[in-house]
Symmetry: C2
Subunit: 325 residues, 2 copies
Amino acid sequence: MSLKEVALGVDIGGTNTKLGFVDQDGVCLADMSIPTGEDDADKYLPRLYRAVDKLMLPLRDKIKIVGIGIGVPNGNYYKGTVEMPTNLQWSDYVPLAQWIEDHYKLPCRLTNDANAAALGEMKFGVAKGMKNFVMITLGTGLGSGFVVDGKLAYGHDGFAGELGHVVVNPNGRMCGCGKKGCLETYVSATGIRRTVYKLLADHTEESEMRRISFEDLDASMITDSATRGDKIAIEAFEYTGRILGMKLADVMAILSPEAFILFGGLTRAQDYLFEPTRRYMEQFMMPIFRNKVKLLTSGLTGANTAVLGAAALIWHELENMPLQS
Amino acid sequence: MSLKEVALGVDIGGTNTKLGFVDQDGVCLADMSIPTGEDDADKYLPRLYRAVDKLMLPLRDKIKIVGIGIGVPNGNYYKGTVEMPTNLQWSDYVPLAQWIEDHYKLPCRLTNDANAAALGEMKFGVAKGMKNFVMITLGTGLGSGFVVDGKLAYGHDGFAGELGHVVVNPNGRMCGCGKKGCLETYVSATGIRRTVYKLLADHTEESEMRRISFEDLDASMITDSATRGDKIAIEAFEYTGRILGMKLADVMAILSPEAFILFGGLTRAQDYLFEPTRRYMEQFMMPIFRNKVKLLTSGLTGANTAVLGAAALIWHELENMPLQS
């Protein structure tokens, strides 16, 4: 029996690492999750390798890994390095792709997690056939991947796609990157939690969230509160949508994409988030661009979306050029 | 004697139209300028054709026009149309390329003036060999052209590159596009004039510009005043550089270009503009991007820069694919 070719997709997040084997049609044959932990990369990798072994065990006679695709914060596509990642406790410069290639003797490609997600949408999701779109992942931070004329924009240094760090307010909220007022301090799962606390401070309205600590509050609870008609929660989404909509209008002016694709836990809020985002985006848009761009949710459903994206990095390259480790 | 092949480059500005014949090496054999006027496009074109005839007259035995490249506000590259131009008194939808092709029986390509300038820099100027850079033209408005991975980004609808209309302040200055607080209302020849008047209102400092009317004041006079140590003029450049620097930092986060190339009358101010722009750009930049990007002035000197850019549209295409009208 011939072995099925799969890419190993690895999504390294600030909290968890997801991994899985994905075939060329975007079917995930097996996946799992491990804590990313607070070690440096050289301590983290042996744990990742053990997880891959465990995932491989029941499939070892059935699949053949053709390459390893990784989505990771501040991943540099050109160099295969992870540099100064804001949400990982790693050293400032980790040659991750090289280490993994040395271990597996297989080609390894990495990019930031949102770029990987963009490739996933283009190959397996709602962006099939699109040449110009922007992927936005709303998790702990705000990640983004820009596809321009059919290709991911990596920029001159390999780090393009950091929409989360455009300036909303130069005197605004402290950001993990060292600046103040970055977009992701407002628009992300963490950002909306900060917004709820600001609104609880500014207003006197009763809210069920007044009985929840900052640490305990998460984006799902804010969505649930909004569903139950909690005014602070609804206002928090309005506030978030205004800032996101304004920045999407800016991106429209610059790159005029066909679609913005939102992904991540915060999108579970559906129209609580999408309606104000769309309204403000159109309002702040130059008239020539109005009513043109689509605002979509990810077409990659299920727990292994990020893994599909990371794996797409390998499949995308295999289709466009021969991969060499 | 064989005829020298030239492209006719036409730059249609809010005030003047410049035209010239440019060979494949970027040499401008002849150029002239006519007022754009306040007619609609169908009245304007006969005047443009007469100007071309006049420019052609002494060269008619020496050159052969291979195509016509046009830089024009709100020019749609894909459709060859000019739609809702903010600084021209034209109808909302003008099929300009088609009309010109019908008249000359030659291929005509158009794009917005800053996109044309970007191609000019890539073909003849300081961006030779660069794959990722952003061209910014500071005239009556602020135009921009984004080169991503070696190609101009036209976006899904052909209108990409409107950096002048990203939002600086949603409650800010009225913009010609119908919105408020667009970047070009602050950063452009007109924008800095508005800034001077704001500063004259806010402060009590003596300034030679207090004796000049709003109508009479232009960007050159502000530069001259700065050179003579006028505090209001120097502060106006600081204010302008802060806003421009912040927005360039945003673009850096999104696309991570190798260079920003500034062009237009306002760049005559040199370090009065460049020093604060660079300082604030680095300050507002995500640490990972700091001290990487070049801030350059246009490499296309002389009066016919915009014409070179428009002509480059034809030469660029001829090198990449056969042109057909």
